[in-house]
Amino acid sequence: MPAFLYYAFVYYFPLAQSISFSFYKKATHVNAKFVGLSLYRKTLEDPLFWLSLKNTFYFVTLSILFTVVLALLIAILLNSLSSHKVRTGFAVLFFSPLTMSLVATALIWGWLYHPQYGLLNYIFSKVGLPSQKWLFSSSQVIPSLAIMQIWLRTGFAVIILLSGLQSIPHEYYEAAAIDGARGLKSFRHITLPLLNPHIVLVCIIELIFDIKVFDLVYASTRGGPINSSRTIVFHFYEIAFGWYEFGKASVLAILIFSLLVGMSFILWRFARKR
């Protein structure tokens, strides 16, 4: 045991450190306690806070919905391929955007989205659609960012869902086919229930990643135009490192963390119930 204890210590040391960091942020908050809860009130009264919360939710909803649906679709298509090699090859291809750093993603999509010289508007004009302003329009900026995120994250979801699909025994489908259930029906009654844990896992992971979205926003829009892509973590960043209001930032940090834990918990419970 002593060896284990020693190594547990080696490991717990950094852990303790990280926990103490989180107390640190609380410590700054405690120092600011001379003003009581007024910082909380200030934060909650700040219209920018609510705006950024709204933007974040909009972004998260769009990204999760499309990532999961698209990934499910792709995973099912890939799963129906018979050759293992071809399947892995395509899975890797769908996974490939993840090799790109978020800054690079933001750059590339910034170029694709370019209102005048971007490829997307070029394709739109070829197909006969009017050109869009994408990141420069306050109503399109969040969907545009969500597309970037979906592009990045779908491959990861595909791999998890694919592994889930492959763990479903073939006999189930054969039995269902004998009972007369095919196609959609077998999908509804066999695939979905058995895949449920994987779907929940993907949802939780995506939820965590999407709420934390920062680099994309920072590198592509900096919260603009006129705050319409200000997300909650970006808001935090600006308060902490733009305006150096660490007390306020700590309040936000605690709020963000409780939000994340709360949401994953709800999602998890919801999934358990079904």
Partner: protein, 269 residues
């Protein structure tokens, strides 16, 4: 037969859409700058040349940045493999008080946006006088909560009998760790190594606030230096992007069997 054709068709269309941005980056990286802002737009570069890549390395010490990224990533991978496998071993095979609590405490670290920890971390690192040094960049990244999670999952699969047998033969705990545990979780370790390398290589935010001098800046920071508020030199930025992607792509091609197989096996259950 026809449904097979439709499936292939859909997959190929999907793959093309997914790959298009990357393709566009590759094309753009070979374009001269005049061609970028020239109407009508052409999909292929008309006068492809290699100058953008030369320019990237001439404008900034980009080679140095890449080297820094490499050093930082490798150190992070090695340390986090070591720590995560030990911790995973402890969590998987020993009972102690508050085990679940500790485990939950670690996994919940995954949920905290890094930006939230950045302020206290920055204070700490500057107190240790590590601002603008390798250890300063590496310190907050060496421990991987995800790694502990992954290692616990894979070590739990090892039968207890192996460990008991080794103990009867007089093997110490450390010996068991070295001779029994590590060889049995090779693919888990490989997965973690690859993922950790990718994450560290792509990390942007922390190096951004902690580095100021060229000798320690990493490649992602260099990438961002081709942009500013008003003007982005897309041809250079794209070339730099391709350069920073190459190591990951190479790694991915070499190890994709490990990644996919291990992801499916360790189940992300």
């Amino acid at each position: 037969m026809r449904s097979k054709f439709i499936i292939y068709f859909l997959i190929i269309v999907g793959a093309f859409i997914v790959f298009m941005p990357t393709l566009q980056t590759i094309f753009t990286s070979f374009r001269p700058s005049e061609e970028l802002y020239h109407l009508p737009i052409t999909i292929l570069p008309q006068h492809p040349h290699f100058k953008n890549y030369v320019e990237v390395f001439a404008r900034l010490p980009f080679g140095r940045y890449l080297f820094n990224s490499f050093i930082v990533s490798v150190i992070c991978v090695v340390v986090s493999l070591f720590v995560a496998s030990l911790a995973g071993y402890g969590f998987a095979k020993y009972d102690f008080r508050g085990k679940n609590l500790f485990f939950f405490a670690i996994v919940s670290m995954l949920m905290i946006p890094f930006q939230v920890l950045a302020v206290p971390l920055y204070c700490l690192v500057s107190k240790l006088n590590l601002i603008d040094t390798y250890p300063g960049i590496i310190l907050p990244q060496v421990v991987s909560a995800f790694g502990v999670f992954l290692m616990r999952e894979s070590i739990e699969d090892i039968p207890d009998d192996y460990i008991d047998a080794a103990r009867i033969d007089g093997c110490s705990n450390l010996g068991i760790y070295w001779h029994i545990i590590l060889p049995n979780v090779k693919s888990g370790l490989a997965t973690l190594a690859i993922i950790k390398f990718m994450w560290t290589w792509k990390e942007f935010f922390w190096p951004l606030i902690v580095t100021t001098s060229d000798s320690v800046k990493v490649a992602t920071i260099g990438l961002a230096e081709f942009t500013n508020m008003h003007y982005i030199e897309y041809h250079l930025a794209c070339a730099a992007t391709i350069v920073t992607m190459i190591p990951l792509v190479v790694m991915f091609i070499f190890f994709n069997k490990w990644v996919v197989a291990a992801m499916i096996r360790t189940g992300i259950k």
